[in-house]
Every structure is written in structure tokens, then in C-alpha cells.
Amino acid sequence: MEKQMVSASAQKSRRISGKKLRRIQEFLCTVPALFFVILLNHYPLVQMINYSFTDKNLMKKTYKYVGLKNWKWLFTTLETNHVLNAFKVTIIYTVIHVVTIIVGGLLLAFLFNKMTKAFSVMRTIVFMPHYIGMSTAAVVFIWMYNENFGILNYFLTCLGFDRIPWLSSTQYALISILIVTFWKSVGFEMLIYLSAMQGISKDYYEAARLDGANSFQIARKITLPLLGPTTAYLVVTRFIGSMKVYNVVDILTGGGPLRSTQVVVHLLYDLTFNKYNVGRSSVVSIVFFFFLLAVTAATMKWSDKKTNYDA
């Protein structure tokens, strides 16, 4: 009896040490990946925080610590350092861009949600701009937007309207950028929504039809709620992506006129690669990082509460 008890206890202890060993093995397996994550993601972040306390200049090999000088610059020259303006422009751009591409993508998905050849061709046409590089698209649009020789103003003048200074007016420059990014992105949103729609069980629709629901009611009460997770995914990913918009702004307007299109990443580029002031750009980057983190967390929490994952 005693022997049996001893052997049971030994077996248990072997099981525990086996479990421990497995856990250690599992952990060790993640170490290489963890190493690269830390090296490529976290080390730069720590280094950025480090640089925010220095006078690091991109053209100099050496730098020295300047305490809170860069942070002081950020907060004491708010009227002239253009950081607030860059945040304002970025938020306006992001909100309008995310809303328009998601609503546009959804509407197009409803429109093209027929699996016939003709609709397939139309879907391809709508999706096609996604294949074009943003830089290429921006260069093409520069000519389309040209005030004197652009095709858009040509049509406007043919219709009896005045020419619009698309890229050189503070009033229209941001709208012009939003048009390009909408044209480029909306097809992809449509495709995501279409595939999500294909994944919704047909039973829901059949049940609703038996209950006498019309198409509008079905879309509002069944399709839209069940597209919730897709919408949540699109909102979060597109939100983060839009906040980091850069190349289209740089090519079309260079952040102008009068900083009316200067987004945060463009300001960061300007501070780093035109003014070579890594200290200041680090400070702005840190603020931007925490801003993105907070807004993304809030968006995810909101989407968790509002989204129906039953489908």
C-alpha cells in the first residue's frame, strides 16, 4: 500500500516536471521570434525615447543629451511648431477617409453582390485601382488636377463652371487627396465586404423571407449586423493605416499649401530628413505613438461592445 502511494507520488511529480519541461521548451521555441520582435519593434521604440532627450542630428555621428529641451520645444512653441495643425489635418483626413471608404465599399458590395459574369467584370473594374501603386496614381492625378491643363478642369469649363485650383488652394487640397485615396481604396473594401456577405448563412435570409421581410429590412436587420466584425476589422485597420498616410500627400501637395495638408507623418519626415532634427521628430513620434495607441484601444473596445460575432 505504502509502495503504491510512493509510486503515485513519484508519477505525479514526474508529470509536473514533465509539464514544466514542456513549458520551458515552448518558451524557448518562442525566444528567436521574441528576439526579433524586440529587436525590430521595441528596440527602435526605446531608442526613439532615448533620442527625444538628445540633440541628435541625422548628419552628425555624435550627439549629446539636452534634457527636456525637445519636449519644451513641443509644448512651448505650439503656436508655431505646426504639430497641432498636423494632428488636426491627420484626424480630419482619417475620419473622412475611413467613413467614405467603408460606406462606399459597403454600398458597392450591396450593388455588386451578384455572382454573374457581368457583375464579376464590374467588380474587377472597381477593384483595379488597388493594383496601382499609390505613387503612380498620385503622379497621374497631378496631371488630372492641373489647374490649366487638367482633364477635370477641362470638363468643368465645358460645363460652364470655373476652374478649380485642386492642389494649390487651401480649400480644395485635402479634398483632392481624399478623392485619390478613396478611388484607390474603395474597391478593396468592397471586396472584403463581398466575401463577408458570401459567408453569411442563407438560412437567415430564407427565414426572413418566410416572415415577409423586404430587401431593405433584410439588409438592415440581417446583413448589416452580421457584417459587424468585418466593419470592426476594417475600421481599426483602416484607421491605423490612414493615420500614417504619407506618400500621396508628399507627391500631390508636399503638405501644402500653407500646411493645409501636412499630416503627422509628413511633418515627421520634414523634421527628420529635411531639418535632420531627430530629437524633435522623436518627441512628435512618441506623442503620435501614444495617441494612436489610445485611439486604437478605444476603437477596439467600442467595436467589441457593438459587434455581433454570432454569424
Binding site: 526605446v46 552628425k60 490649366n148 501644402g256 535632420y276
Partner: protein, 460 residues
Amino acid sequence: MKKLLALILALVMVLSMAACAGNPDESKGNDGESTGVDIGNIFNTEGNSIDKSLYQVTEEVEVLFWHSFSDSTRSEWLQKKADEFMAKNPLIKIDVQYIGNYKTIATQIAGCIAADGQGLPAMSIMNAARILAFASTGVTEPLNNYVIANDDVDAFGDFYDGMIDANVYEEDGQVYALPFSISTFLFFCNKTALGDDLMPETWEEFKSWALRIHDKTGKVACGFSTEQNNMYHLIMSVTGIDPLNDGVTSALDDERIVKVVKELKELIDAGAVAMVDGEDDLRLNFQAGEYLSYYSTTNNTTTAYECTKDLGFEMATAVGFHGEGVEKPAYTASGANLVIYEDNDQQVKNAAYLFAMYLCNVENNADWATQSLALPSHKSAAEKGLLNELFTKYPAIKDTFPALGEGMVSKHKSPALNDALKVITQYSYQYFKGGFSEEEFDSQWALCKKEVDALLADVQ
């Protein structure tokens, strides 16, 4: 609450650790006082003896040369000159590489510095606007000793004064680049349409000329673009005032500057003058015969000629106008310069200097001007008849090119120059295009001044 406190504490720790981390060397920034620049005394060696042997090439070296000329004519010319130079200097191997425009080269240089000098070229082409910014960081080599050690002081004196002055860093009085070619502004005119009634010499004459031409032809007499140096040149030519003033507080509130801006707006509103967003628009309107003259850089001379040769009108060029009490129009020194990078072996830097000076000698400089239609940087190029081929091919520039070189002055040396000029141009452009009304002008112009002053203050 506990979580929040923990988060704050963790954040404070990360920030403190980051602030304490690392052990960088002390910055080696120059702490010398401003010496001012006197062209005659730049290479004054009185009291200093230079060991010439330090600036000689005694072993085999390779010079990596980055340039910004994408077209085959120019890049092939550079390769040809490199081959010639290597034949004459067997110890030196030149590796000519096209990298991209000035901005790309500057970004690549920054990358090399970040990589602890790896891949850094021995020399590169660089635009005038970046020369002093580079000099202030110590990334480029001061060249005075090289010039003296190689007995090149006289040859150096043949560069236009404005180009030399533009490359002198005031903090240490040293020259940091060799002027390779010049680009500055000039007027391109449709001689067939304007006849002898070409560009007038004074601002007052220009105003009445533009209105008269517009009334007579219904066309735009002169087109300007939003290129940032445009407004700078216009203001300086008409008022004789540098808008950046002493580099501490701008002179944008000076009533003479305000008057010029308002008078230009009147001409634009009358349709006699146009202000467009981009050089391409200027050229296309000129080609279409809508603009009878336009203001652009000498870099575009070839394009201007090529674009108009089959259109059935003759082109002329003009230096431009100046204001009352101002001696001559202002044209500032811009263009391609050759810089040598400090973080190279001394022998490599010596070789790079020799090659840079070879590319910039008067014969090669004139040849380059003839091939590329760039304004040569040597005073004697025209006098020695080295530009005859160029002037025969393009007679319209025969008088204009040397006049531009002679009158050239250095731009304001504030590191905030480019950003400040962008601000001035953009506010002016918004005003010209009706972005704000006449009533709003005072407040908007005050904002412009405030922004420019802030930029100037930021670099103090």
C-alpha cells in the same frame, strides 16, 4: 486605479532609463565665433604654413562620386571626364554613380552617417541650398587648405564671386564646395510676338509694359510660378531688400515689400501677369502662345529652346527688371556644387579634391555648359571664347549668361532660408489666387511674417 498607477510608474521608469542610456561622444560642433566673409581674404595664409605633402596622393585610391544627372548626355560626359582624369592620374580610380536628385543624395548621405560612415562617397554633387547646412554639421570637408596646398587660389578666383560667397560658411570662413554649374532665374521671351518691345529694365516700366502688351494682344505678358525663389528674387530686385533681413527678424512688414506684393496682385487681376503652380504650366502656356514671356531658371534653357523650336517663333532671353534706387536685378547663386565628405581617408579626400577641381576647371566648365546649357561658373569662360560654340547655337543667351554671372549674389545664409521662402511664396500665392481677400491681407501677411520670424528664431 492600481493599474493606472502601475502604468504611469512603468512609463516613468522607461523614460528615465532611456534618458540615462547610451554613452555618446561629445558633439564636435564648431564653437568658433562668426568671422564674417571677405572674399579677398578667404585664402589668406599669413601666419599659417600648410604642409603640402598632406594634400598629395601617394598611393592607389578609389574615389566614389555620386551625382544627380539622370540624362545620358550629362552622365556620359561625367564618365568621359572621369576616364580622362584617370588616364592622367594612374593612382586614382574614379567610380561615377548616379544616385538620384539632390534630396535623394542628401537622404542617402544621412543613411551613410547613421551607418557609421559605411558606403559614404568621397564626393558628390550637391545644390547650393544644402552646402552650408552640411557644413554646419561637419559632414563635409572644408577646402581652404586643399586650395592653397594645390596652388589653386588663382583658379578659384575665376569663379563668380557670388558662387564662392555662397559656399563660404560664416562660422569658420571656410569654403565647403566647388561651384560646378550655376542655375539662376531669367526671362524667356517670345521675340516674334513682342518684337523689340522685350522685357523692360525697371519695375515701373515693367508694370506699364505688361498692361500695354496685354491690352494689345489679349495675352499674358509675363508668367511667374510658385517656385520658392521667384518671390525672393522679385522682392529683392524691386526693393533691394532681402526679406529675411538680418536673419533674426524678417523685413516682410516693410512697406516697400508690401507695395510690390500688392502691385503684382493688381497686374495678375488685370490679366497682364500670371502666377501658376508649377514650372510645367509656365512652359506649356508659353508654347501655346498664351504667355509672351515667363520667368524660370537657367536649368530650363534647353527645354525652353527644344519646346519652341518647331512652333514658329523666335525666343529671346532677358535678365529682367529692378526697382527705383536699386542698381540691378537680383539673381542669387544656386546650382550644382561639388562637396567632399569628411569621413574619408585623407588620401581619398586629396584625390577627390583633384578630380573635383578637374571637373570645375574653366575648359571643362565651358564644355559642360555647352553640352548641358547650364550657366558656367567661371568668369573667364566667355572672355576666353570657350563658349563660342554655345553662343552660336543659342544666340539668345549670348548677352544674358555673362550678365547673370557677373551680377550674382549669395542667398541669405540663414539655415531657415528655404522654409522661409516657401512660407512667403505660399502666402503670396494664396493672395494672388484670391485665397484671402484684400481686407484680410494685413492680417494674413502679419501671419506670414510671424511664421517666417518663428523659423528664423528657431535656428538662432
